[in-house]
């Protein structure tokens, strides 16, 4: 099954997932729509939905076949009816919703060389002072477009064109948890010590992923993040990784 509903494309992902897709661009209005659709589906508490996964321009529903669908009706008809009804309700509702509400997180980052492994190099390559890099990186709020790669790894955008830089050709064997990086027009935070190829410009003392079931990921897709610069001594006083 693959069909259209207004600006939406709806298609199957294998035999137990359904994707709601908008135009394949990084755009905050698309992000907001997906966030609201996610909330609408969640509010319905539909039996058999295992996961709802937003990322950039898609929202994917993973479902348990025998619970989500009836064996006596045509599968494609059921999925088409489900998605059409859902999107009709959604498109009628969205007119009355406040489209710009988002949780804003203030995130301290120490951009000093001890953590900012690549900042000097970016400064040389781009002919921008380290101070300007920090100023540019902290000058706007970033939207969280996706979470993945690792539990809690946060993909944010868009970074100012002046800071656009490719990933390292060869990833580092280990990037420290809390490291803040840039890749293309995206900025991200590493949740745990792991291999990684992003250009590292600082480190936050905050834990962005905590396995405690009441905590888990600090950010959700659709949230906003505002970085602000802190010194090493402030970092030490806020450090949650001790």
């Amino acid at each position: 099954m693959q069909h259209k509903f207004q600006n939406w494309s709806i298609y199957n992902l294998g035999d137990h997932a359904l994707v709601f897709a908008l135009a394949p661009i990084i755009d905050v209005s698309i992000l907001q729509k997906l966030k609201h659709l996610h909330a609408l589906i969640e509010s319905k508490k539909i039996n058999g939905i295992l996961d709802i996964i937003p990322s950039y321009h898609t929202l994917t529903i993973v479902y348990d076949i025998p619970i989500f669908l009836s064996p006596t009706q045509n599968v494609n008809d059921q999925l088409q009816l489900f998605s059409t009804q859902l999107l009709s309700e959604f498109e009628n509702k969205i007119l009355t919703q406040n489209k710009n509400e988002a949780t804003i997180h203030q995130v301290p980052v120490c951009y000093e060389n001890i953590f900012a492994l690549d900042i000097e190099n970016i400064s040389k390559t781009k002919q921008i002072s380290c101070q300007s890099i920090i100023q540019i990186h902290t000058s706007k709020q970033y939207d969280v477009y996706s979470i993945g790669f690792l539990p809690g790894f946060t993909y944010m955008g868009l970074v100012d064109e002046q800071l656009k830089i490719a990933r390292h050709n060869k990833p580092r064997n280990e990037v420290a948890a809390g490291s803040v990086g840039i890749a293309g027009l995206q900025t991200g935070i590493y949740p745990t010590n792991c291999p990684g190829g992003w250009q590292i410009i600082g480190k936050t003392p905050l834990k962005i992923f905590d396995p405690h079931p009441d905590k888990l990921a600090k950010f959700k897709v659709g949230d906003r993040v505002q970085f602000y610069s802190i010194s090493k001594s402030v970092f030490d006083s806020l450090n949650e990784y001790l």
Binding site: G14, H16, I52, I53, S55, H57, I65, G148, P211
Partner: protein, 306 residues
């Protein structure tokens, strides 16, 4: 009935059906690679189907039972022996305190499961006992404890309840190497040229030795995209065929990341994933395209008895 790992195996772990409901936070589902075999082992012991089992690769862990109990082994045939005496697969087997289970040789399949008629007595994390990269270690003790429902069964009563026809049906599903692995086309299907699609369906592939619980890389023809590989990351599932920029395919397995930015060629249907997981490295197989209706009907039929 607690157990002790006397010698650790290649990549063994405790697994259940995994966790859903947290992928939007980047938390992987994990769970058994071959859910069919794991479910069958629990079914034979009349355990709850989500009871954790031990997932074994070859060379396998050597396991000592610290109390009397009943176990069942399913999945790959690694020629299991208890104290050097061979035991049968797909049936309830009594073990006694200090008995040692070893696996001698990888005769058929790639992953064996050991179920125990006891409850795994450690806390879950987010509704599951499956974790990323939690391999069993030498000298590790896994606490299983008997509860009343386990004590109701004896090896005899469990034998009487065996459904031999169903067990044979599961075995055939898992180890029939002549049936193609069935897929449904994914969003990047239209971005690959027709010649490459022809190759995908008509040329044999093999699973590379670089396989692990995250993914199985394939060896086969190189496939190319018609367009630049510049997809925005979106959700993937187990069984997703990712086309890498090199032209190679990797199939995502139980420990897959929640999202992926590579070209998504398609998904192996759920009912064929256990068979794919069990395939040995280097054995040729082909893909075939099926449809959603068929895939779901096959799934419902296979899993109805659980």
């Amino acid at each position: 009935m607690s157990i002790k790992i006397l010698h650790k195996g290649l990549a063994d772990s405790i697994q259940d059906k995994g966790r859903y409901g947290f992928q939007h936070l980047g938390i992987q589902p994990n769970g058994c690679m071959d859910i069919l075999s794991a479910s069958l082992a629990n079914h034979i012991l009349q355990n709850d189907t989500d009871t954790p089992v031990i997932e074994l690769y070859f060379p396998s862990s050597q396991i000592q039972f610290l109390e009397d109990g009943i176990i069942c082994i399913t999945g790959a045939n690694f020629v299991p022996v208890i104290n050097e005496k061979s035991i049968a697969l797909h049936t309830a087997v009594a073990v006694q305190k200090n008995d040692v289970l070893s696996m001698l040789q990888p005769l058929e399949g790639s992953i064996a499961y050991v179920a125990i008629n006891a409850a795994y007595a450690t806390p879950k994390w987010l509704n599951s006992h499956s974790f990323n990269d939690a391999r069993l270690k030498t000298a590790q003790v896994l606490p299983f404890s008997m509860h009343q429902s386990n004590a109701l069964h004896t090896v005899q009563t469990l034998h009487e309840n065996l459904n031999h026809a169903f067990i044979e049906q599961v075995h055939n599903n898992l180890f029939s190497n002549t049936t193609p692995i069935r897929i449904l086309p994914g969003p990047a299907w239209q971005d690959v040229n027709e010649n490459a699609l022809f190759e995908l369906i008509n040329t044999p592939f093999t699973i590379s030795s670089q396989r692990n619980r995250m993914g199985y890389p394939l060896t086969g023809p190189k496939l190319n995209l018609n367009i630049p590989n510049a997809y925005l990351s979106s959700a993937v599932t187990r069984g997703t065929l990712q086309l890498l920029p090199s032209g190679d395919i990797i199939v995502l397995m139980a420990d897959h990341q929640t999202i992926g930015g590579y070209a998504n060629l398609g998904q192996i249907i759920l009912v064929d994933l256990p068979r794919f997981a069990q395939m040995k490295t280097g054995i040729s197989f082909k893909f075939n395209v099926t449809n959603l209706e068929t895939a779901q009907t096959l799934f419902r039929t296979m899993y109805a008895p659980f």
